[in-house]
């Protein structure tokens, strides 16, 4: 299989790789680039574990071909912490016991980040809607919802 060049920005850093044509972004990130924060769950667009942010929009990396991302700005959970300090969402997930096995957590956090970027003070319904494409089999969602609301409150207090 012929290899094709792919070049994009990942968490602020330029990445350039040769990949097999038809490779999903999920595989490119995990197997070629070494960013294992997006998780491969269902590979069918159902569980949301592989969610990443591409050009500001939440997308499923398991259903996105890496070749279609040339020139894109991609963000994953691995790029959220800055200078060793966790992102408020990451901190809130830890503090609210919103992770159990942790497999869904990166996807949940990316979905929540898109929400908070656009809606800094979301309602509970906004959070439920934003996370509706992400499946968790451990926590029962309530701690996750509370973590996102907590992070939103922390953000608004910091901004005030």
């Amino acid at each position: 299989m012929a290899k094709v060049p792919v070049q994009f920005t990942l968490n602020g850093s330029e990445k350039a790789e040769f990949i097999e044509s038809g490779t999903t972004l999920l595989h490119a990130l995990r197997d070629k680039i070494g960013d294992t924060s997006p998780k491969g769950g269902c590979h069918q667009g159902t569980c949301g574990a592989c969610s990443v942010i591409i050009d500001g929009e939440l997308r499923l990396s398991c259903l996105t071909l890496a070749e279609t991302c040339s020139g894109a700005d991609i963000k994953t959970t691995a790029g959220l912490a800055e200078g060793g300090v966790l992102h408020p969402l990451q901190r809130a997930f830890l503090d609210a016991f919103a992770t159990q096995c942790g497999f869904c957590t990166p996807g949940m956090i990316m979905a929540a980040k898109v929400l908070l970027d656009r809606t800094p003070n979301p309602s509970r319904e906004d959070v439920v809607e934003a996370l509706s494409g992400n499946i968790c089999r451990c926590t029962g969602y309530e701690p996750i919802i509370q973590a996102v609301l907590t992070a939103a409150r922390a953000n608004s207090q910091n901004a005030a």
């Binding site: 490779t23 667009g45 969610s51 499923l60 071909l65 279609t68 809607e129 934003a130 509706s132």
Partner: protein, 264 residues
Amino acid sequence: MSLALQTFSSVKDANAALQAAGARYIGGGTLVVRAANEGDVSVSSLVRVTDPGLSRIAVSGGKVRLGASVTMAAIARHPELATLAPAARAVGGPAIRNMATVGGNLFAPTPYGDFAVALLALDATVVTEDGEIPIETFLAGRDTSRAVVTAAGFSMPKAESFRFLKVSRVKPKGVSVLSIAALLQRTADGTVTAARIALGCMADRPIRAKSAEKALLGCKLTPQEIAPALAAASQGIAPITDPIASAWYRAEVLPVHLGRLLLD
């Protein structure tokens, strides 16, 4: 997975490439990449078109034209398409809606394709390089279609005349038990003068509830007057059975939900 992706700037070149055995068109990827991930070896190459015209939404003179690459998210947030927003929001979760396209939804097998149900009720036309065909003709032949769909067009419905309902077990996102879209023309006193009702999950693709449409003519939307239409709704249906619901269940609850939609 071993798939060769071919990217074209024009629909014409993509149409030529699609004639090759094993070639499939890729829009948002939510159907074809999923199929490949599942191990569908009938797909050996993917064809896409980067023409920005395919992502264009045009609303003018009461007519709407949705490019085939327009996403459900783009429809849901478009200020002039608020009437259609419930149907667009019925598709998947936020990430899927950022990827799923109008063109792809026309090919989505049941229980997916909720937006196509809305397009069927709206009497849309499906556009390819060969011209425009009625959506019912397109849906009937979609399994053997080899031409790139470039757009869907329809007349903008008045807000009060278009209704959409998706029934699912998980809220706010869940696979359809069934979906219903209705386009109703009524006189000032509320009498139905024209009706188009489209059903999802009541066959292997969106279908019309023609008996119910006929029974609604001349009726006002009251429980008594719509009763014959609800009784007729199950004529000609062949619901699917899947892990979400059995065919029997879907047939049983169809009149209930159609009644709720009409009386809402």
